[in-house]
Symmetry: C2
Subunit: 223 residues, 2 copies
DNA sequence: CTGTATCCATGGCGATACTG
DNA sequence: CAGTATCGCCATGGATACAG
């Protein structure tokens, strides 16, 4: 941890938080991840060594506590860590409003599916098992096809065919679906312009935008 | 600017903001500084080359706009920059609550005086010229003595005797006065315990805590 | 599954000096 | 006053392999 040589609380806070990846790890913890590899999936481009290092720093700073339960370790936020929620939310709102341009490298389909997995409104889905297949155009084969399976309030994602027939198939450029997810583009506009196309029974096609919804930050008003 | 390879708005925001010093420069701009050397005084440990570099990055990111006026350049926040205010405030509140421990290197008297200069409640001061002298114990000679001069709603600080007689002299360990300023310790407690001693007419001694006040973040409730 | 160990290149950043 | 120019270190962190 490098220091600023200032007593200002903003500077003291940044000494803890300004290192690369730190607030993204906090974001994952705020989203409910606790296990090491669960955290990794939220920050896949971060090396495990660095994640371990950051977790130790955050522990020393009193933001995170490591615990052992059922013979497997886990991490949770302390009260100090939990109180970073408004800060991370501000950051997300600001990023939504003012940092729109996405590079090709930002378009990670795994992260999109992982994000859907944890925020999809399961209560809005049919009670019986429902499978949504995704086909991303212009993405290399191994990550172009994904499946979202919802059953009994449980959500799973696969990058292989789970064997059940898809209720709806969603086809779109990855960039387009990311934009819809972020709220840069509405479901309505995307479907009307055929930037996203759906395949399946009419009723399911009608309901799909409600099933998937959008990222929690999508509601942030744009400048 | 290093990237995270994530479309998440939190990550996109951090790409702009997570580099060392960046949010401290924004803090200075939010506090009203506009000129290059004025900004420098708020981040004295930052090299001018690095400050220039950060200002350019922030300009590219659309957070800051450089302008020319009266033949001298200046910097001001754009709307995107202004909207960082709640974020910086959250950061300050969090730092106040959870990052209390100050190292010796954090105790910079120049920053303390500079911070007072811009937030002192001038309307609470007498109308005639008023001088408060500071004597910091255990600080090397050239920065142990300071003067705060208030007249006609104008505040000035000097590190040399301005020639006018001091209305009140404040003597304290630098750490103590910093703690009072941050709100870690009340004026009342500090004066009662004689951690801070005042010299001057009774009325002025009584009013001094109101004249100086505390940092805006001092009101943040502690855990 | 939960991390460690090691290596290496990059470049960030601190320090200092200097210029229009 | 408002920055540039230059230098060089060392730490950051990316990559990969591996271990309990």
């Amino acid at each position: 941890m490098t220091t600023y040589g200032q007593f200002c609380p903003v500077a003291k806070a940044m000494e803890v938080l300004d290192e690369r990846w730190t607030l993204l790890v906090v974001r994952e913890l705020l989203a409910g991840s606790t296990r090491f590899n669960e955290l990794r999936r939220g920050v896949p481009k971060m090396s495990p060594a660095l994640l371990a290092k950051r977790l130790r720093s955050l522990e020393r700073a009193g933001v995170v506590r490591r615990y052992e339960a059922d013979d497997h370790p886990g991490y949770r936020l302390t009260q100090a860590g939990e109180e970073l929620r408004p800060l991370v939310e501000s950051l997300g709102a600001w990023g939504t409003r003012w940092v729109g341009g996405l590079g090709e490298a930002d378009l990670d389909p795994h992260l999109l599916m992982w994000d859907m997995r944890r925020t999809v409104p399961v209560n809005a889905w049919p009670r019986e098992r429902t499978v949504v297949a995704f086909r991303f155009d212009g993405v290399s084969a191994p990550v172009a096809h994904w499946w979202l399976v919802v059953r009994d309030g449980e959500v799973d994602i696969c990058d292989y065919d789970p064997g059940y027939e898809a209720t709806v198939t969603v086809s779109a450029a990855l960039r387009t679906l990311v934009r819809v997810w972020r709220g840069d583009l509405s479901w309505q506009m995307a479907l009307r312009g055929e930037a996203v196309s759906l395949d399946g029974p009419a009723e399911a096609r009608r309901d799909l935008p409600v099933w998937l919804g959008q990222s929690p930050l999508a509601v942030v008003p744009r400048p």
